[in-house]
Amino acid sequence: MIGGSLVFVVVVVWVVVTWVANLPPTVQAQTNGGTASVTFQTVASFGHAPHPDWVSYLVKNKQGDWVHSTIVQVPAHSLVKFTILNYDGASGLRNPLWAQPRGTVGGIETVNGIPRRVINPADASHTFAIPDLNVSVALPGVRPLAANQCSVTPCTMKQAHNTITFEVRTGKPGHYRWQCFVPCAAGFINGFGGPMQTVGWMDGYLNVV
């Protein structure tokens, strides 16, 4: 009886520890002097196990390969240039406040090369937000009838997408979580679920070192 209980406790602890420690890899930003660059792609469906239909972010590593991770390391006290290739369609912002870029250099984002101080909230498919740094950028989605849409990652530049860029100045070192504010899984009134609550999919960390 005691032996059985002990085995049960050990198994439970092992499962919990394994689950907690099972974070995706940390991807380092490309650095050049005092600046760094991070490139994400955002997709409507990952296209692979274990959750082929989950919406997700991917990040490009220094070798130029796409990595299924949302943990990024950037240098402190530097300018970080973000590029997000958004392959997902629009679902709209639940709170239109997030349609205005915040915390970026100049208070702007560029959408396919055009500087924007706000986007139409109905056009957004996701946001990239770091609440503790007061950073939030909305990502306009591709048109519903756009040709050559991507459904399996990694998506390529030939497939329908919008390119969003913005710059953020990092401060002191820290471990900042980021998230998407669009309810792109589950939703009212049950709240975020699945990929929205799972690091490596629609939220992650910005490690400023």
Binding site: L93, R102, V118, P183, T198, D203
Partner: protein, 282 residues
């Protein structure tokens, strides 16, 4: 107590308990009291702090009585020699009477004080509706600052209907001016907890829960979500500002300028927001 054991004097226990209780209560009132949570940043917080002091002053002697008896039992009541049972308590009507009357008095006094404190912190004298509904228990002053708190996974945003419906990611209020918080949610249940101001209000989808408070002086206060609302619940926090009248006027003007691009996209001000059906499921 062992029968016939003359070394144990009940008066000794009472004297020790009395001395320790007086010391503890004085320490609570004069040393701990000024630093007890949630502080004195608002009239509501101050009332809650006083309530915590009263409860601690009442409860400390009870705890000390238990500990004193326990210590005496360990040191003086140790069984030595032949075991003999103590005198029976059953049938001792005087002891039972003391016990019933004593505990009854403590509970009734706490109930009376609790009722008073609840009224004091929910009346216009000390401000604050309790946040359990759309109306305050008593009316706030006409010049009160109205702030809508919009909760969502995992951040609070704040809307100021008296200032062009501007919505901000930072909360700022004005010192010595009553602020009325209208708390709602656009997804799951949250709880807006402005800890230092003594305000905690549930943010419920489709519900406008109202509470008011009057900050005493400029400074900062901690904002946290106090309702488990998902994986990032623990990260749903920020720092609010209490500004002077002039400081608040400058701050709100700056917020309106910065929010100019998005103002036309914000929905008309309402007490609650139901997401468009196409945006509910994502």
């Amino acid at each position: 107590m062992a029968q016939g054991d003359s070394s144990i004097n009940p008066q000794r226990i009472i004297i020790v308990w009395l001395v320790l209780s007086v010391i503890a209560d004085l320490a609570i009132i004069f040393l701990l009291g000024p630093h007890m949570p949630p502080g004195s940043a608002s009239a509501q917080a101050d009332e809650q702090r006083k309530t915590n002091i009263v409860l601690a002053v009442v409860l400390a002697p009870i705890a000390i009585a238990v500990w004193t008896y326990f210590a005496m039992a360990l040191t003086s009541f140790r069984q030595r020699g032949e075991f003999r049972d103590g005198p029976p308590i059953q049938g001792d009507s005087r002891l039972q009477g003391y016990w019933i009357v004593g505990t009854l008095l403590i509970v009734l006094c706490l109930a009376a004080y609790g009722t008073y404190a609840l009224y004091a912190t929910t009346s216009s004298a000390a401000g604050s509706g309790g946040g359990q509904g759309p109306t305050l228990i008593s009316a706030a002053p006409a010049n009160a600052l109205q702030v809508q708190v919009i909760s969502q996974q995992w951040a609070f945003t704040f809307r100021y209907p008296q200032y062009g419906d501007v919505e901000t990611t930072q909360l700022a209020v004005q010192s010595n001016r009553t602020v009325v918080f209208h708390v709602t949610s656009i997804d799951v249940i949250h709880s807006f907890w402005a800890y230092d101001l003594g305000i905690k209000v549930d943010g419920v989808p489709g519900v406008d829960n109202v509470a008011d408070t009057t900050p005493n002086h400029p400074g900062t206060f901690t904002i946290r979500c106090a309702e488990l609302c998902g994986v990032w619940h623990g990260e749903m926090h920020s720092t609010g500002l209490v500004l002077t009248k002039g400081g608040f006027a400058s701050w709100i003007a700056q917020q309106r300028r910065q929010a100019q691009p998005v103002l036309k996209h914000l929905p008309p001000f309402r007490s609650v927001y139901y997401p468009d059906p196409t945006e509910r499921a994502g």
